[in-house]
Symmetry: C2
Subunit: 396 residues, 2 copies
Amino acid sequence: MKFADRLQNVETSAIRELFKLLGKPGIISFAGGFPDPALFDATGIAQASAAVLANNPGPVLQYGATEGYGPLREGISRFMAGKGSTVAPDGLIVTTGSQQALDLIGKCMISPGDKIIVEAPTFLATIQCFRLYGAHIIGAPIDADGVDVDRLEQLIDEHHPKLVYLIPTFGNPSGAMLSLARRKRILEIAVRTQTLVVEDDPYGELYFDAAPPPSLLALSDTVPGSREVLAHCGSFSKILSPGLRVGWMIAPPELLTKAVMCKQFSDAHTSNLTQAICAQYLTMDRLNDALAVVRKTYAERACVMAQCLQRDLADAIAFNAPQGGMFFWARLTGVNGQCANAADFAKRAIDQLVAFVPGAPFYAHDPDLTTLRLSFATADVAKIEEGIGRLKLALG
Amino acid sequence: MKFADRLQNVETSAIRELFKLLGKPGIISFAGGFPDPALFDATGIAQASAAVLANNPGPVLQYGATEGYGPLREGISRFMAGKGSTVAPDGLIVTTGSQQALDLIGKCMISPGDKIIVEAPTFLATIQCFRLYGAHIIGAPIDADGVDVDRLEQLIDEHHPKLVYLIPTFGNPSGAMLSLARRKRILEIAVRTQTLVVEDDPYGELYFDAAPPPSLLALSDTVPGSREVLAHCGSFSKILSPGLRVGWMIAPPELLTKAVMCKQFSDAHTSNLTQAICAQYLTMDRLNDALAVVRKTYAERACVMAQCLQRDLADAIAFNAPQGGMFFWARLTGVNGQCANAADFAKRAIDQLVAFVPGAPFYAHDPDLTTLRLSFATADVAKIEEGIGRLKLALG
């Protein structure tokens, strides 16, 4: 069978192979990017589902509008207002998870050979998704405050990319939080260079203490013209449930229209039932309480992970403690002749029944082979203490 | 904003514009391709949802496998066995409606400029979906027994298409049912020419009297080598509920693997909740009863529509009464100087508060402007009688 040429641009990810090993009995995994299912408000979701299916279920079970289920678009509009962003219901579309928002952006924007700038490192599935549309992807370096804006500006001026993709708040895999000053500068650069910026924001609600700076979307009110070059992707996956597959995209009307056309031929529309459940849930006044529990739990786990890493892997690993999200991003220092290759370390760790993800696949090019990602979202405190102890053993 | 070149291959459909007019008060619509929501087994779906969310809901609300939810893959395997097809659970993947199966096939198979053969006329969203991947689409003529196989064979030999897309059973828009003899020949041609055939089968269960001939998939056991060049798309949309957005794709392992990779970057996976609801529903022994009601209702409506068309539009319209599905495909004869342009007729019909879809958009090229599609699925018998009467008035 002769497949489409575009498939030559991507490989089945090395991470997928690693994930097959996670079924080993007794393994403690820091590898996944999954929220803790024990924190899902299953009761609230069940109540929402029952309400939706009890009361005039016909429209919810019928075909629906490609743009999204009306009451959910209104609910997301209110939710975004609570986060400081003014978005009319028809200024957003619902997507089958935020992954589909990325796919629609790729389909709408990227011609083969187009350049795209992303953070180095960034979300693996974005790299692959855009490559399937023929993108040539360029990485911009990051530090603990997010992307290096001076370097990003140079890269934009040099390459004139079709778009810049960023996860400004508690990035995956970096955990980094883009500073307020850098956020403003990015919007200014986007306006000056008329470059579309895609802000992916699945983790913004998962902060530990103070709320993060406003999103690029919320800040766009303060930078004239920036809203016209900004797309924003949101998701219920990390705040309610990923299994529902409900996300959204906010973008200039012209892009939104094209995305709706593409979505019509991608999956017609997102499940009306899961959309209606989300819409109903948003009216039930449970989300803030549920989120408070998630924030507290993840904050505690991140704190314990930081302490254990300090205690057990002291000089072998360097990292910045995140202020939210789900990930530690770390670097093997290699001092004292210790292991400096994260892929090797990952194999040794599996032997000790603990798993994490080496950082290399998160780079579009020139991977830093010393890097690794540790998720603190799924394992509880006892497992984190035990798992980091096992990492110490793996270090040998 | 400069969009991707591929968007130049498609237009927002003329049908979409027509559909905006359907909100007119008092209109009787034969335009949609929607099942009748009054026939949805909402009680069964609500019971399935409650069961799924009551009992260990964590895995259902969590991220899931891109290939699909295990119990549903098993349920679809059993369902297909009941239709005479042997398919292992890992021989199929779950898709976000069968529209996504088409999108994945396009993404996996079509390079810009590749030729694709479809029926003329065929499902509009398939044409558009494949064009977004750069397909050059060639139409093969049909009659009441489905695609003209001699002509199809000539076109395959002439164009060496990447794939042939067919809706063999109660096609949309044609309503036609491919004869058993033609089904076998198509499989033989596919093997001889090593051409991938995509069988789209959303309507096969909606037969009125006798069951239709076995699907190409079921027949593939009798034609050596044909299973290796056959993909089959199925869906719960017409037999349970389109709002759930659950379909499936059966294909050779090599294509299935590529489709899973593409799906990973399209929407990660289909909603676990709606998949689990479908899986639960299939175990509840309600589907056969629900389908019996749907078949009886649609058969009655089709019968009434045929009678009314004969009565009211006698020599003005020619059509073959369908044996299942949701559609009449008709042609304005233009005899006695009557209207012979379906687009003009559609406008006059709207003035009389009755709607249908002109046939032209269902052709990839060289549209037959006299054709039109009438759906009998959504309007009840009284509305069908009244609506066809209005069509007579529109004829003038």
